[in-house]
């Protein structure tokens, strides 16, 4: 399916002379960037806890490069999706649909920041991390934004890999490699992404339908989406405990991940049982999913800091 509404970018209002530096900063999707910084930091600290290490200032610069790379991919995404962003209530306030930043400028801005962030990461840490960051930006722009987003309801399942890579990039920035433990962190975010975005799509379904984006509720309906959210929540609850069972986390982490994983499943069950058209429960699940990811990564961070400094 490819029913997305498109229109030439030149039809969008463009008043570059009204843009402030903050409008360009908004192109970087600061809220997404903050999650990337946090998960990459957890990957870095986890790598340090295994005995790897680089100079703390180089680690901080590497984290900055990862953050800028994530922001750059956000700007490129806003450039590519400017036409559909202008049709959705959630995204209509972004700088391009508002006419503050011309779409080609956003593309140039994102492209330059992508190149600089990858180069900076290569200089500050190593080529493995820089290669992974470049791949993340490529995956988010080309595989997710350009190809999958308007093509299939599995868009965010596959595209979620881009959002799941930052802890692997962070780990590689410290150790120069990406061991299985880093990919376990990747797996947790990868499995977390579908229920997170489908919960959002359940209460923003009208937005996606209007823009012609084939999100799961638009294409397969509410019932099927709720069932899949529940299945992913159950798998995620088990996957969330994996760090304990491979020895990269301790009992504190297991307690946090188990309790929050069970609550995630319970909330998803509530969504599954909810009436058609119910918006409040998916909204609650969406909010909780953010807390879930933050809390279990914070638990890993606390345990690893304890290992390093305790």
């Amino acid at each position: 399916m490819n029913g997305a509404v498109t229109r030439p970018l030149k039809e969008l209002p463009q008043q570059a002379s009204h843009a402030s530096p903050w409008d360009y900063f908004a192109l970087l999707k600061p809220r997404v960037m903050s999650l990337v910084i946090f998960t990459a930091l957890v990957g870095m600290v986890a790598a340090v806890s295994t005995g790897a290490g680089i100079h703390p200032l180089l680690a901080a610069i590497s984290l900055l490069a990862i953050a800028v790379g994530a922001g750059a991919s956000g700007a490129l995404n806003m450039w590519w999706d400017a036409d559909i962003d202008a049709l959705m209530a959630r995204t209509i306030g972004r700088p391009i649909p508002r006419g503050l930043v011309p779409a080609p400028e956003a593309a140039g801005f994102g492209g330059i920041l992508s190149a600089l962030s990858v180069a900076l990461l290569a200089l500050a840490s190593n080529y493995v991390a820089a290669g992974l960051l470049a791949f993340t930006i490529f995956f988010y722009l080309v595989i997710y934004s350009m190809w999958l987003k308007r093509l299939t309801p599995q868009n965010i399942v596959i595209g979620g890999a881009a959002g799941a890579l930052p802890p692997v990039v962070g780990w590689a920035a410290i150790s120069g490699s990406a061991p299985i433990e880093a990919w376990i962190l990747f797996g947790i975010i990868f499995l977390w992404t579908p229920p997170h975005f489908w919960a959002l799509a359940l209460y923003r379904e009208g937005d996606y339908a209007r823009a012609g984006v084939p999100m799961m509720p638009v294409v397969k309906g509410e019932r099927s989406t709720k069932r899949q959210i529940f299945i992913y929540a159950v798998i995620l609850a088990f996957a969330g405990a994996a760090p304990y069972f491979v020895g990269m986390a301790g009992p504190f982490y297991l307690a946090v991940a188990s309790a929050l994983g069970a609550w995630f499943v319970w909330l998803s069950f509530g969504v599954l049982r909810s009436e058609p058209g119910e918006k409040e429960l998916p909204k609650r699940l969406f909010g909780f999913s953010i807390l879930y990811l933050f809390a279990i990564f914070a638990a890993i961070l606390i345990e690893d800091l304890w290992v390093i400094y305790g």
């Binding site: 180089l58 900076l120 200089l123």
Partner: protein, 47 residues
Amino acid sequence: MDELSPEERKKRGQRNVAIALLIGAFVAIIYLVTMLKIGANIASGNP
């Protein structure tokens, strides 16, 4: 080319300052990375 309004002129000035600060910060970061890498190589006895 149209004349810029005072508001547009102010925004352009802000953008110019932001670009100058970011380029300065980037140069400082590259300098810092270079010094740290050279320092580490000297400390480990590498040429």
